[in-house]
Amino acid sequence: MTHENEHPLLKSARKEAIAALSIWLVVVTYCVWYCSTYGYMHPDRARYPSSRDPASLTYIFGFPDWIFWGIVIPWLVCTIVSGLFAFFFMKDEDLDN
């Protein structure tokens, strides 16, 4: 639904919004999937089929392994991606015109 007279800011803002929400979708899917699969320990194995054995817990830089791969690494990746997004993908537009 692109109109020829569309304001350039609108074009780039729309593109960036879709990109940002897509990144969010990737983050949600990965983090919630990873943590649900590797981070839960529950006696009710019917509800949590992948329940972990507590003895299997290891630590990476002090963090529980599933936290490290499920949240900490994604957090660092997001920070870098946010920086790249902000400095290379987003365009500056004149707000006053």
Binding site: V28, T79, F85, A86, D92
Partner: protein, 585 residues
């Protein structure tokens, strides 16, 4: 969000004058920043200057204040980590992407629309964009309602902190469920003033000091005062967190050791989902984890307080820098705070009230400091949540006052108001808001706090459709915006209040009506946080998901069913302006 303080008679160290001194320092700094802000406001246009800082927010100010997150960080978060363990990292996890979504989804367009409509408030912007006064009016009423509840509760919290900061009150506890009817076991002056004022005089003095200060500096310096004090408080917070993590974690023997100690003290479930529990509730199920990844993100860009900040950005370059600055800032706050509170299980093994974790930890880690600096440093750390409350209150008072003056006074009461009249209206509104807040807190209601927690999510559920449609959809109509707001709001509150009914019925099982409620809604599913005001979980997810969906469906559906906006109106906001600009208002 609310933080309330309760005195504890059991724990040993006394706070002395350090916390009070730190609070007074915060207050003095805020008033000073307020007066600086007043000088910085160019005397161009009162409304634009007072309520939007003449759209001059730079990258640091925008980054550290836009998502209004600082108010919530010290709220129940540390006590949650202490109580439930590592799973709280997942609860807060979506903050990793909040900076990006916070600015990139609607930031540029809101800033542009705000200039095109000359809007000073969000309802202003929506009214102009959809060409219908009702949209602005409804938005205004809803915003003022949500924010008022949050704000009243914050006044109470601020007053309570001051009450307990008086030396000799015992250590501070940052409690979410402060029961105002419990008497402080340690304080001597539990004298009630007249029969109907249940609190001690210290509380009322604190309430007065807090109210006068915050309303005062916001009145003097307006939007800029609010932003600068928020900025100051954010900086103090990161310093506090860094101090704590660098002292507490090594003291506990390192992070891995801290986790193992925690496991030894409680159970392995403290290092796994759904979290350690003493009463069989699962704190964070996968469904709730998914919900939290919606809550922070959508409340981060669709809540009114965040939108106002973005509208005040200088330019898009500032927004881009803010994304990066805020991402780095978040890394320095959340994960270190979690590490600290895990370490707290080693350093403070038998905390009966987890809400006391930050105050007691600050005292403990600074014990070895020379020349009494330890007391002062820990006072500063403990005063950080106070700064957060002041920043939140200042922001909310401003947004409410802007609504009263711009959306109601200037539009309906006095259409040709002069600048002097606008100034007077602003002063009166702010003082009135402060006054009502004091009245609301004379006999502080106990459960306003629950409404506080709702307001971020409620704001998101209500405004998601109108805001997205305003920014990107030509076919959106005024009625669609109205429908989006109402459906989001009603669905969210409707579902949430079923939770209150369910909890009430569970707590009063003997009543017949309780049985009927429970047979209709189902029994307590034993998930989520403890407390009387939990939401109702449909399919195991937070109501925000249904609220967001309802808002979007309502907004899109009604827009398609109603007549489109006039092409001129749409062109004004979506197309390139013709070479000879039309006359704007």
């Amino acid at each position: 969000m609310l933080i309330a303080i309760a005195a504890s008679a059991d724990a040993t160290p006394e706070v002395g004058f350090s916390v009070l001194a730190a609070l007074l320092l915060f207050i003095a700094a805020s008033v000073w920043l307020g007066s600086l802000a007043q000088k910085a406001m160019e005397k161009k246009d009162f409304m634009q200057g007072f309520f939007l800082g003449n759209r001059g927010l730079g990258a640091w100010a925008l980054a550290l204040t836009a998502t209004v997150q600082s108010g919530g960080t010290f709220m129940g978060f540390p006590s949650m980590v202490y109580s439930f363990g590592w799973i709280v990292t997942v609860w807060i996890g979506s903050y990793m992407i909040v900076p990006l979504t916070g600015f990139a989804v609607v930031g540029k367009r809101l800033a542009q629309l705000s200039r095109q409509t000359n809007a000073v408030t969000v309802p202003d912007l929506l009214r102009e964009r959809f060409g219908d006064a009702r949209v602005g009016l409804l938005a205004s009423l809803l915003i003022m309602t949500f924010l008022s509840f949050t704000m009243f509760a914050q006044f109470k919290a601020g007053a309570t902190i001051m009450k307990h900061a008086w030396p000799g009150s015992g250590p501070l506890a940052l409690s979410e469920d402060f029961d105002s009817s419990t008497k402080d076991a340690g304080s001597a002056d539990v004298v009630t003033l007249a029969g109907w004022l249940p609190e001690s005089p210290k509380y009322y003095i604190g309430l007065l000091v807090f109210s006068v200060t915050v309303v005062g500096y916001t009145l003097i310096g307006g939007f800029l005062a609010s932003v600068w004090t928020d900025l100051f408080q954010s900086v103090m917070m990161v310093i506090g967190v860094m101090l704590l993590v660098c002292l507490a974690v090594p003291m506990a023997g390192g992070l891995e050791q801290a986790s193992q100690n925690a496991i030894a003290a409680t159970s392995p479930s403290i290092a796994f989902g759904p979290g350690y529990s003493t009463d069989g509730r699962e704190f964070l199920t996968p469904g709730l984890a998914l919900s939290m990844f919606f809550v922070w993100v959508f409340a981060g860009f669709a809540s009114p307080a965040s939108m106002v900040r973005v509208m005040a950005a200088q330019n898009t370059e500032v927004m881009r820098k803010s994304i990066f600055l805020l991402s780095c800032y978040n890394c320095l706050i959340y994960i270190p705070l979690i590490m600290t509170c895990i370490a707290a299980r080693t350093l403070l093994p038998n905390l009966k009230k987890p809400d006391e974790v930050i105050p007691l930890l600050s005292l403990k880690v600074t014990e070895g400091f020379p020349f009494e600096t330890g007391q002062f440093v820990s006072g500063l750390i403990m005063a950080a949540p106070f700064g957060a409350i002041m920043a939140s209150v200042s922001c909310f008072v401003l947004v409410i006052a802007s609504g009263l003056v711009e959306d109601i006074y200037a539009k309906y009461i006095n259409r040709n108001a002069t600048e002097a009249q606008l100034r007077r209206a602003t002063t009166i509104s702010m003082v009135a808001v402060g006054f009502v807040a004091i009245l609301a807190n004379l006999n502080p209601p106990k459960y306003l706090q629950a409404l506080v927690v709702l307001s971020g999510s409620a704001g998101a559920a209500t405004f998601i459709a109108p805001v997205l449609m305003a920014c990107y959809w030509r076919r959106a109509t005024a009625l669609g915006a109205l429908a989006g707001m109402l459906s989001g709001f009603l669905v969210y509150f409707g579902i949430y209040s079923c939770g209150w009914a369910q909890n009430w019925a569970t707590a009063n099982p003997k009543l017949a009506i309780a049985g009927r409620i429970l047979s209709f809604l189902g029994p307590d599913p034993l998930i989520g946080p403890t407390g009387l005001f939990r939401p109702y979980y449909i399919l195991g997810v937070d109501p925000i998901i249904w609220g967001l969906a309802a808002s979007i469906l309502g907004g899109i559906g009604v827009s398609l069913l109603t007549r489109p906006l006039s092409p001129e109106l749409v062109k004004r906001f979506f197309d390139i302006r013709p070479a000879t600009p039309q006359v704007q208002n």
